[in-house]
Symmetry: C2
Subunit: 331 residues, 2 copies
């Protein structure tokens, strides 16, 4: 049986109200009873029942982290950032993924917002529309969106456009003029921003943007890269470089196929990825890529949400973090 306030109260000869005050460090308790109560609590190994406390205070001390897919290394990395912030976190993290569940994303939002199981939510690159997200506002459950700018909620994201611009510019610096772009329209990827950056960079140097040079992959895995390479080879514009907003795994697939086809990298084909995943440093040649500060995004997100929950930060806030162009060997 669980040890409750009552048990302690009985042995200490006081009321459970008093014990509660002691446990919660409230003032106006005589040192004597405080000590007595604390001693007994320790003896009995008392821990407050979190659920009962939650009911009484209307606060669960839990934060929901909603992700589309735990298989994404990006998502996992942000999650690590959330869990490894320096701040001393007194909230439990509850994990929800929206892929392969029999509940739609929208239903999950509804439920989470109304069940009062969490005090706030962090959404990592979920695809929810403003309409679907509204419920968090209605129920005044604080919320921050990660990896996607969302006018509707607080958000922390990365300057995707600039990152793509940098990558493309670098390629042009190296003398490339026919630069392909491989992207993937998965809901959680900010593809359009990156495409815009690519396009801006081109136009900035008076190189005309050609639709034929932008390919779409179905997914963002290594095999999508090998498929993309085949398309690249057949391309009439004979690209000498590829920028891969679809992500590093796709870029790695391209590298692999290129090597198989005896194309030297970066001389025969220069390749730039996006994200900077661990494998970027194991592939050969090492992958040049646009790094996203994933841990930092998680860190910001958890701090923002807690500030919100605790009412310390009420204004809408958007935090843009900077990508970093990482030059390695593939370009």
């Amino acid at each position: 049986m669980q040890v409750t306030l009552k048990d302690i109260a009985q042995r200490a000869g006081v009321t459970s109200a008093t014990v509660s005050m002691v446990i919660n460090n409230k003032p106006n308790i005589s040192e004597k009873t405080r000590q007595k109560v604390l001693t007994i609590a320790r003896e009995l190994n008392y821990y407050p029942n979190a659920i009962a406390r939650g009911l009484a205070t209307r606060k669960s001390n839990a934060i929901g982290v909603i992700v589309p897919n735990l298989a994404s290394s990006f998502v996992v990395r942000v999650l690590q950032g959330i869990k490894s912030t320096n701040r001393d976190i007194d909230y439990t993290v509850q994990l929800f993924d929206t892929i392969g569940q029999n509940e739609t994303e929208s239903q999950l939002f509804q439920r989470l917002a109304r069940e009062r199981r969490i005090d706030g939510a962090i959404l990592i690159g979920t695809s929810g529309t403003d309409e679907e997200l509204k419920v968090f506002k209605e129920e005044s459950v604080p919320c921050v969106m990660v990896a996607r700018k969302c006018e509707f909620l607080d958000s922390v994201y990365v300057n995707n456009t600039q990152g793509a611009y940098d990558a493309t510019s670098y390629l042009m610096d190296k003398g490339h003029t026919s630069i392909a772009c491989v992207l993937c329209r998965k809901a959680n990827l900010p593809t359009d921003d990156r495409l815009a950056g690519y396009r801006n960079a081109l136009e900035h140097r008076n190189i005309s943007y050609r639709e034929e040079l932008v390919l779409e992959t179905h997914d963002d895995g290594i095999t999508d890269g090998v498929n993309a390479f085949a398309e690249l080879r057949g391309n009439s514009h004979k690209p000498t470089a590829v920028f891969v907003p679809a992500g590093d795994m796709v870029a790695i697939g391209i590298i692999k196929e290129a090597k198989k086809a005896n194309i030297s990298i970066p001389e025969g084909l220069a390749i730039v990825g996006f994200d900077d995943i661990p494998a970027a440093e194991v592939v050969e040649p090492l992958l040049t890529t646009v790094r996203q500060p994933k841990l930092e995004m998680g860190d910001y997100a958890i701090n923002m949400i807690i500030d919100k929950i605790e009412g310390r930060e009420s204004s809408k806030k958007h935090k843009e973090l900077m990508t970093k162009f990482i030059v390695r060997e593939s370009a």
Copy 2:
């Protein structure tokens, strides 16, 4: 304000007890009131308050997943397995990591077991001693240990010894007689089992086990591999093969250094890793390794814990899953 049973009861002209029964699909409710109640509930967007329900039923419908370190790809993969089981899970997953917290693992166990915030716990390769784990039993919080056999709790793990035996035997099949072993004594790695497998395999073929051929790394990252390679080169037994129970990242580090030193793989040095991480398929040559069924482990774990929680499975259970030797190019 939150919509409660009472609100619905009022509009339906019944008692909140009745509404509760409808919401929970209890029998003996007239179809008429059932419909009326359900209609109103939907109109008001009613969702039961999970906390209040938890207090009343003494069940939180949450499972704690306790991991040493979210940065481990092994851990993450098991977590994916947990979240992607086919079973229709009606439990929330709460995530706890024990590294870099100001609470010790042991304190966390205590708290989790007594706070009644979770109905059960899955421990992924945590290092807790039997003494520390006892509290889950005391408080009768069901528990399963993953990746480590634990007499004390239910557990699901992998035949590490056999996996290591297979790997070593394969190397001997290929004619190697001087086989180094690179291991890492991190708390969550079943190093001894793997070492035993290596040793057994050797002795089975009458090759004597030499302590000088087993190296220890500090951690299990890529740099630990590059360091290990230096040691390997200096080794007086001139190993022609390495088995790396420390994990694939370490093996990859060794590969990288070997290539730098112009040693051909597998001719000059054969290398076998342990785990089969994604990077094993991007490194060149592709890494031959012992695959652990990580998703499957997660799947088993979540199913076991739920059966336990719901009283469907009371006997202590140990599930051993099989590793699979994956032949690629490095050996």
